[in-house]
Every structure is written in C-alpha cells, then in structure tokens.
C-alpha cells in the first residue's frame, strides 16, 4: 500500500499531464502546430509512478508519445510547447518537435519517432553509468508494438548478462497503431518473455496507481543496488486514437468507451475521496496553476521566432 500523501501528490501530477495533453489536442486542431501529435491520455500513472521515483540525474528514453514522460521527469512546460511549434525557443531549438523532445539537463535523452528507438540508447546509458560508477540508472519506455522489434531482444540480453542498472517499461495499450496486440504478439503477457533473459517480468494494471507505484519502486530499487534489470509490462486500455485525428475506423466505439470507464485519474480520485481527501480543492488548484502556465506557454510559442534557415545544419550533431 502507498500512503495517501503519495497518492495525492501523484494524482496532482497525473492531472497536470492530462490537462497538458487535452490542451495540446485542442490547440493542434487549430492547424498551426506542425506534424503529428500523439497524446499520453490514459497512461499517466506509468510516467508518474516511474519518473516520480527517479533522481533528477537518472536517465530516460521515451517514445513518439512522450509528453507525459517529459513532464513527469521535470521538463518545463514553456520550452516544451515552443518545441511542439518548432520555434527557436524550444528545447531542441525547434528542430525536433513533439516526437523528438530531449532535455539532457533533466535526464531526458529523447522522445523517439522510431518504434523501439529508445531501447538501445537506455541500455547504453545504463552501461555508461555502470562503467562510471556514478549511481545513475536508466529507464526505457516503449509500447507493445516495439516489444516485437529485434532491438528489444539484443538490449534485454545485454542488460541481463552485464546486470545493467536499467528498467524496461512496456506501455501496453493493446494496439500498435491499428494492429491489435491480440493478433501480433505471441503471448498474452509480454512480461513472460523476461524469463528468457533471466530477469524479473512483472505485469501491472496501469489503471491502478498504487500497483504501478509499487512495481516501479521495486524495479528502480533493484537497478539502483546493482541487482540488474527488470521488465515491467504496464497494461491499460487505449482511450484515444493512435494520433490526434485518428478516426479509428478499425476499432469498435464501445471499446473506447469502456477504456474511458477505467480511467486511472477517475479511479484515483474515487480512492482519495473515500479517504476523506478534499479532491475538489486539489483539482481546482492544479487546474488554476497549469492553465495559467499553458496560456502563457501557447501565447509565447505562437509568437516565437522560427529557426533561421542559415542555421539549418546547426545542432545536427551533438557534442
């Protein structure tokens, strides 16, 4: 069991991410944000439970659906929003956009548009930490679709034989874009594959914040003390389309409705209320704070300077 205080704090953080993503979805509709966006709605417990228990110096690699990981790891809202709009004041000076947000100062080694692209990077970061003996650990987030990529096999094997301080977090929302996991994955629980690499594999209901928190705590602590990697499969139903604007012609509308009925934020709210916590005040405080922050971030991003074409090649390589 986790304490009510921890649950309350995590609820605030999940709500903050939800409000950020709802705002992004709405602003995206206006047509002036370039490219695609994929929102983290429904998965908030995973980023908050994991990143909330990491140190600032620990490292994560993220996915195409990375806003939640970044916010939970402490990335600031205004430069994130500027990056979504491709502006010079963005975290990557507007070169990255939604799917390539990185903030090394917060240990965010990068969102990644390549499915499974962050997995090997996190294992490399964990190898560096182990070699340097600096006490840091690495976490890689990836989806159920990425679990079928070859890089996961290589990465889990190396992490296991070298006992690397890394946590593999598979966010299984049941769909790899428009392909159902029930069709494309040979096992009903991806975590059972961890046995093939002699590492613990844990299945967690990511709509239960407390369960997610405990699973993350155990995996992080195992990595921290040098006992090696853990594979967490965090299961939750997908509430929204793969990307903003996905008409989801390939799936039944009832499934989406059922997914919304088991929403982690609504469920956590009920738990807090049953413990006598004043949730209405928490919600209004969180809303007031983030809405103000978002209003100013979106205004600033829209008015922000575009990167200069003269500097097209700048930042192509990092050193």
């Amino acid at each position: 069991m986790i304490s009510i205080k921890t649950l309350e704090q995590s609820f605030r953080e999940m709500l903050r991410i939800r409000l950020f993503e709802e705002r992004v979805r709405r602003e995206f509709g206006k047509g002036d944000m370039p490219g695609f966006v994929h929102v983290y709605v429904g998965a908030e417990a995973i980023a908050v439970a994991v990143c909330g228990q990491l140190e600032k110096t620990d490292m994560i690699t993220s996915t195409h659906r990375g806003h939640g990981h970044c916010l939970a790891k402490g990335v600031e809202v205004a430069p994130m929003v500027a990056e979504l709009y491709g502006r010079e004041s963005g975290l990557c000076h507007g070169r990255g956009g939604s799917m390539h947000i990185a903030d090394f100062s917060k240990g965010v080694l990068g969102a990644n548009a390549i499915v499974g692209g962050g997995i090997g990077l996190a294992v490399g970061a964990a190898l560096a930490a182990q070699t340097l003996k600096d006490g840091r650990i690495a976490v890689t987030f990836f989806g159920d679709g990425a679990s079928n990529q070859g890089v996961l096999h290589e990465s889990m094997n190396l992490a296991s034989i070298w006992k690397l301080p890394v946590v593999f977090v598979c966010e299984n929302n049941g769909w790899a874009e428009s392909t159902p996991a029930s069709y494309s994955i040979s096992v009903s629980d991806i975590a059972t594959r961890a046995a093939g690499y002699s590492m613990p594999g844990v299945v967690v209901d990511a709509t239960d914040y407390g369960a997610m928190h405990i699973a993350a705590e155990q995996a992080i602590s195992r990595a921290r003390v040098g006992d090696g990697p853990t594979f967490i499969e965090a299961k939750f139903p997908r509430q929204v389309g793969h990307y903003v604007g996905d008409g989801e012609a390939y799936r039944n509308r009832d499934e989406r409705k059922n997914a919304r009925d088991s929403d982690v934020i609504s469920k956590t709210r009920l738990v807090l209320e049953s413990q006598g916590v004043d949730v209405i005040s928490i919600v209004s405080e969180t809303e007031n704070q983030i809405i103000k922050e978002l209003d100013s971030a979106f205004d600033a991003a829209r008015q922000g300077k575009w990167p200069s074409t003269d500097e097209l090649e700048k930042y192509v390589y990092s050193s």
Partner: protein
C-alpha cells in the same frame, strides 16, 4: 461563446470539407456529442463537441476551408443564440 472549428487531424494541412452537420442548429449539446462529419484527404471523420452549449451553425454542409476554420459556436444562453442569429 466558444468557437467550433474544423480541426487539423493527423498530418494534413490543406483544405477540408464540412460534409454534414449531425446536430441541428439551436440544439443543446454536451461534451462528446458528435457534431459533424468532415472530410480530410478522402477520409470522413466524425468530430465530437469539445465543450457543451447551444449550437450555432455559421457555415452550411459542403463548406470548404482550411483546417482550423470556424464553422459555428457554442453559446450558453438563448439570448446569445438570438443575438448571433440576428447579426446574420
């Protein structure tokens, strides 16, 4: 008064078409009600209401415009509804 727009969906940034309104002008709508169908790159997409309110349609079925264009409003009172209609 909140704007109802034809939102950008996916990558497509060209013109989109309001195929048809699915809820009549002047109806009270709730968040999540399917307001209209639009076409974007030969794909028809149903768009849900982002806000609740009384629907004021300012464009008709078949209207073509850039993504993000306003096609109606959601207002809170009948007086507001009448006021917008009177301007037309």
């Amino acid at each position: 008064m909140l704007e109802v727009i034809m939102p950008k969906q996916g990558m497509y940034e060209g013109d989109v078409t309001l195929i048809r309104w699915l809820i009549p002008d002047g109806t009270d709508v709730l968040v999540g009600d399917v307001l209209f169908t639009m076409e974007n790159e030969k794909v028809e997409i149903d768009i849900e209401a982002e806000d609740a309110g009384i629907l004021v349609q300012s464009q008709e079925d078949g209207f073509v415009a850039a993504v993000g264009t306003v096609i109606g409003y959601l207002v809170t009172t009948r007086a507001e509804y009448d006021q917008i209609k009177a301007k037309k």
